[in-house]
Amino acid sequence: MTFRKFYTASSEEEAVRIRSESEGRVRFVAGCTDLLCEDDPGEIAIDVRRALDYLRRDGDDLVIGAATRVGAIDRWQEGADADDGLLRKCARDFASHQIRNMATVGGNLASAVPSADFAPPLLVLNSRCVIAGPSGRREVSLHEFFTGPHQSILGDDLLVEIRFKAPGKNITTDWRKIGRNPGDIASINAATLLEWDGSEVRLARIALGAVAPTPIHADEAEKIITGGTLSEDVKNRAAVAAQQAASPISDQRASAEYRAHMCGVLTKRMLGYCAEQRGGQ
C-alpha cells in the first residue's frame, strides 16, 4: 500500500475539484483510523480535515462538520444541551482517547459499517447529510444514507456536514453499547429519543446498529410507544417489536441470537431510563 499523492483541501470546493481532476484511485481522508487499517487504501489522498472541522448552530439546526473529531463532540456543550447528552455519551464510549483525538464523525458514517457508533444517535436525531460533488450540493436524510455493509449513497462525493434540528426541551434520550469493553467496536449499539407531552410520548425514535446490514430504525416499536404512557405492557411490546426488527448475523463478536435478543433487552432498558429521567412516567 502507499499513496503516491497527498493533498490538503482548504475548502469543500477544493476537495471536490481535486477529486474530479485526479486520475487513479482517489480517497478522501480524515482521521485515517479506518482507512489506514485497509490493506490497499488507494493512490491519491485528499485530506479534508482543514475544510470540514467545525461545530455550529445555523438557525434551528445544529451542524457538525464531517471532519469534527469524536473528542470535540464530547466537549460540545451546545450539542449536549440540545440532545440531552446523547452524542456526548456516544463519544465517551468510542475507542481510546488517542483514537477519539483522530477519528471523525464524517469518517464514521462514510465507512458505513453496520456497527458505526454515531449512526444510531444521529438517526434518532433525524439528521440530514450535506453531500457535495462536481454538480453541487445535495441534502439527503441519514435514513437513506446507508445502503449495505460498507456501502452508502456517497459514491465519489464528499460528505460535508451533518445537520439536525435541535429538539425541543421535552425530550429524553439514551445510548447503549455492548462490546467486550466500552471502547471496543460494538456488538450492538442503540439510541432512543422520546419527546413527551405531559406523561405521554408524543414522538419516539429508536435506532439499532450492528444487527442488520445497515443501522436501522425499530419502526414498529416506535409506533407502539407513540401517543401513550410508557406502561410495563407498552415497554414489553416495544421490546418484542425491536427484536423482530433485527436481522443480524453471527460473527466473532456475537451470535445472531444474542444480537436479536439484546435488541429487545436494550430497548426496554432505554425506555425505562428515559421514563425515569422524565420523572417516573
Partner: protein, 156 residues
Amino acid sequence: MILHLKLNGKPREFDVAPGERLSDVLRREQCFSVKVGCSTGDCGTCTVLVGGEPIVSCLMLACQAEGAEVLTVEGLGEPGRLDTLQESFLDEGAVQCGFCTPGMILSAHALLETNPSPTEDEAREALSGNLCRCTGYENPVRAILEAGRRMAGEES
C-alpha cells in the same frame, strides 16, 4: 514531499513519501521511543503528542502532521536528567520490558498538562488506550499520581 514539524521543540524538515505513516518517519529520524506494536490503532505503543494531544502515530499519515508540534519521549528528558514522570515510573517499578512505557508516559504527560492533580480514576482512564503485556496498570497508575504530587511540590 517536505514535511515541516516542530519535533521535540525544534523546527525540523523531513523528506517523506505521501503514504508514509508518522510512526515510520519518527523512527527513521531516530525517535526510537516510538514503538510499533500493532499498526492498527489498538495497542497505543506508538502514541505521540500532536499539538499536545495523544494520537496513535501508526494511523496518521506523516503529511497530516504538517506544521504541527510533535512530542515524543526523546523530548522529555535524557539519561541523567529525567523528567518527573520518567523518574516516577522508575521509582514505582512501572517498567518491565518497557515496550508500552513511552506511550504510557506521553498519555500521562498530556493528562498532567491539563489536570495536574488527577484522581486515580482519571489516571486509569488516561492509560486506557495503552496496553501493557507485562507490568499491568497498578504501578503505572501509582507513578502518574506520584508524578502529579512531585510536580505540585516542585511548584510550591
